[in-house]
């Protein structure tokens, strides 16, 4: 299935960069940082044009049966890559768990080769040093789909050894101080369409999550899922807070000071 030109073009393999729709529209700088990081590590990164959405908003609303055209579109775009990497745990988890299509063999291959950026960096690229510099106090938000779904970190409810792939990467960043949180892995309340259908609870959860970071002195809130960060950013801005959200790719790629578009 892997074509020669795609599979072995880069020194370390060919990556299809998966940029979720809302990242493309609202957070292009996170996607640029992701691209730069992967290229710096020696990967050949392609960005298939015409990307739309993983279909998660449909499926989580109970309309998984309408996702066939979206799935087939995704499969046609990402067929043949060695890896598919995206800066969003939730979208990646959706692809991993629910991507099916007319080319089922290719769908299965994509499901087994799609990675959220952090897990790709720690597990595939085996990153153990970075030239990044980010002299701020940072709160790490463990997004549930990345943490509990993809296993990016241990979970406070389980009695298993503690680890955190995003924290492991952030520890490689010079000057960065990770702030402790009172509740290390509580959901922020974004939840996809939940954020509007259950507006009251969603916003309250977001306020509580943000308050934990503020109380513990974070200057930035980061994480591997921009959807959660977008939700928390909305609350921070409403509160006129100076604290900013930043996708982890932008911190890991911050050689001097983080780039903005």
């Amino acid at each position: 299935m892997i074509t020669e030109s795609k599979a072995h073009a880069g020194r370390r393999g060919k990556i299809g960069l998966f940029v979720p729709c809302y990242v493309d529209q609202f957070y292009p700088s996170a996607a640029i940082a992701t691209l730069n990081l992967l290229e710096k590590l020696g990967y050949d990164v392609g960005f298939p044009s015409g990307q739309t959405c993983c279909g998660q908003p449909l499926a989580n609303s109970g309309y998984e049966h309408l996702t066939a055209p979206v799935n087939n579109h995704f499969i046609s775009l990402f067929a043949g890559y060695d890896y598919i990497v995206g800066p969003s745990g939730s979208c990646v988890l959706h692809i991993k768990e629910h991507l099916h299509g007319m080319q089922e063999a290719e769908a299965a291959r994509i499901r087994s080769r799609v990675f959220e950026l952090v897990e790709f960096l720690t597990d595939v690229a085996k990153v153990n040093s970075l030239r990044a510099h980010f002299p701020y106090r940072v709160g790490l938000h463990q997004s549930c789909h990345g943490q509990r779904g993809l296993g990016l970190s241990s979970m406070s409810e389980r009695t298993l050894p503690a680890f955190s792939k995003p924290a492991q990467l952030l520890s490689l960043v010079a000057g960065l101080e990770l702030v402790p949180l009172d509740r290390i892995d509580e959901c922020c309340g974004f939840g996809g369409t939940f954020c509007v259908t259950e507006e009251a609870v969603s916003a309250k959860m977001g306020k509580d999550r943000v308050a934990d970071h503020l109380k513990n002195g974070a200057e930035y809130i980061t994480g591997a899922d921009l959807s959660c960060l977008m939700h928390m950013e909305g609350i921070l801005k409403r509160q006129k807070s100076q604290v900013k959200v930043l996708h982890i790719a932008e911190i890991l790629n911050a050689e001097t000071i983080h780039a903005t578009v």
Binding site: Y63, L66, G149, E199, A200, M205, E233
Partner: protein, 462 residues
């Protein structure tokens, strides 16, 4: 049931959130219980193995439920227990009524039984002139308040001690303004004692029914089930048929998991085995289906019947903690209730599987490893397929599916949204947009990543 103004979880929890201080208090109270549970479970090195074993035992038992129930019935009958089978709630309630009428009993004490909540037994009996006294302290409190329990283990967790003091002042004659937990508990104790001593019938729930011995086990922290059952001439126990387990050997695993998961205690204070009636007493056991065999037949949802009603999924659920148990408008609230209730009535409980962010913490704390969050997702698909959704939502989803497979159209939509945010923010930032009520919209960058890529990495595509 029968309520004319249907309010869904979103509306009910929005009501609960009008008092933010109370939401904070509710959240912190339940988080405290969740932390106790964490400490206790982490004190057991083989905790995850215990969960796995419990889950496997329940899978095995559910797959052979017919055999285990028949074995249980045979042994229980041999022990002198009267066995009744109730296909539904009405039949259960009718059975209780007939037993009481046969003995000319019009008053009974009742310990905790979520099944009787599910069957609305209290209403049924009270409408027929009988008096029910709930003897679990939390249940007694909500009974006096004429409310249903808001939590299966902590029925009055939504009430502050001052509110309980007010209730007791009205109903039990305690001094106005008394809010000391110890004094209030003592007042409830004195009142309940009179009732225990004078009522001739006691109803209890059942936590586990043991097939090999024909006995059943009732777990309480207050000893109220024992107090009722030992003093009464007639003991009626109600159980959902999924409570059966093979033997005493398996019971140990569940008892270790139950109290730690529920309240962070090493063991429930009283785990009482009822095997046979004492001399002169009648012991009745009602085995209730009420939709359970239908759920057993649903491949995707069968595992929900493994539930041992510990409530851990409620304590950990960030949505439950901030919406209160009553917002689920069903006897069993929280994540587990949201996968059980649609089986009883899809139309009435169509909102519940959506009252979740699918964060997955519920599945992680579940002592019998029910894949709760995956079942929530699956219920959403089933509800939509059965038409329990509104037509506007379906139209919107169809439009979304159409757009998402057409890049140019999505690009146009995205561009329009960013354009509006930049040049006509009021079109989006207004109270009609539920996002905007408490959150600002993200800033709209001048260009998308795709546009940036096209400009900066031309020709590098693919």
């Amino acid at each position: 049931m029968g309520n004319t103004a249907y309010k869904d979880h979103a509306a009910l929890s929005a009501g609960f959130n009008r008092d933010e201080g109370r939401v904070d208090w509710h959240d912190q109270t339940l988080w405290f219980v969740r932390q106790k549970r964490d400490r206790l479970s982490q004190g057991i090195p083989d905790w995850e193995d215990l969960r796995e074993a419990a889950s496997a035992i329940k899978s095995h038992t559910l797959s052979n439920i017919d055999t285990y129930l028949e074995t249980f019935e045979k042994n229980a009958l041999a022990n002198g227990i009267h066995i009744h089978w109730a296909p539904d709630a009405v039949s259960h309630n009718q059975t209780v009524l007939e037993i009481l009428q046969r003995h000319n009993i019009s008053q009974l004490v009742k310990s905790k039984s979520m099944l009787t909540e599910e069957c609305h037994l209290n209403d049924f009996l009270e409408q027929r002139g009988l008096e029910v006294t709930d003897t679990d302290l939390g249940e007694r409190i909500v009974q006096l308040a004429k409310e249903p329990p808001s939590h299966i283990v902590l029925p009055c967790i939504h009430k502050k001690k001052e509110e309980i003091g007010e209730l007791f002042h009205v109903h039990l004659g305690t001094p106005a303004g008394l809010a000391d937990p110890q004094q209030l508990t003592e007042a409830a104790r004195q009142d309940l004692r009179k009732r225990f001593l004078t009522r001739r019938a006691a109803l209890t729930g059942v936590n586990f029914a043991i097939a090999e011995t024909g006995e059943f086990v009732v777990c309480t922290n207050e000893g109220n089930a024992d107090m009722g059952a030992h003093l009464a001439d007639v003991h009626i126990a109600s159980m959902g048929f999924e409570k059966v387990i093979p033997g005493r050997k398996e019971l140990g695993i569940f008892l270790r998991l139950l109290a730690r998961s529920a309240t962070g205690q090493p063991i429930t204070t009283y785990s009482s085995h009822f095997a046979r009636p004492r001399d002169g007493q009648e012991l009745h056991l009602i085995l209730v289906d009420n939709g359970r065999s239908r759920q057993l037949g649903r491949d995707d949802f069968r595992a929900s019947l493994k539930c041992i009603r510990c409530g851990a999924c409620m304590n950990t659920c960030p949505v439950y903690r901030r919406s209160g148990g009553h917002s689920y408008h069903t006897a069993v609230a929280g994540p587990i209730g949201s996968i059980l209730a649609p089986n009883l009535d899809m139309a009435q409980f169509k909102d519940l599987p959506f009252a979740s962010t699918l964060c997955g913490s519920c599945s992680n704390v579940c002592p019998v490893k029910i894949n709760i969050h995956e079942q929530l997702y699956k219920w959403r698909q089933v509800l939509v397929r059965h038409g329990h959704t509104d037509t506007k939502k379906t139209a919107a989803m169809k439009a979304m599916a159409y757009t998402l497979s057409r890049p140019a159209l999505l690009n146009f939509a995205g561009k329009s949204l960013r354009f509006a945010l930049r040049y006509a923010p009021l079109a989006i930032n207004n109270p009609l947009n539920p996002w905007y009520r408490q959150r600002d919209m993200p800033a709209a960058p001048a260009e998308t990543f795709a546009a940036w890529y096209h400009k900066n990495r031309k020709g590098a595509n693919r």
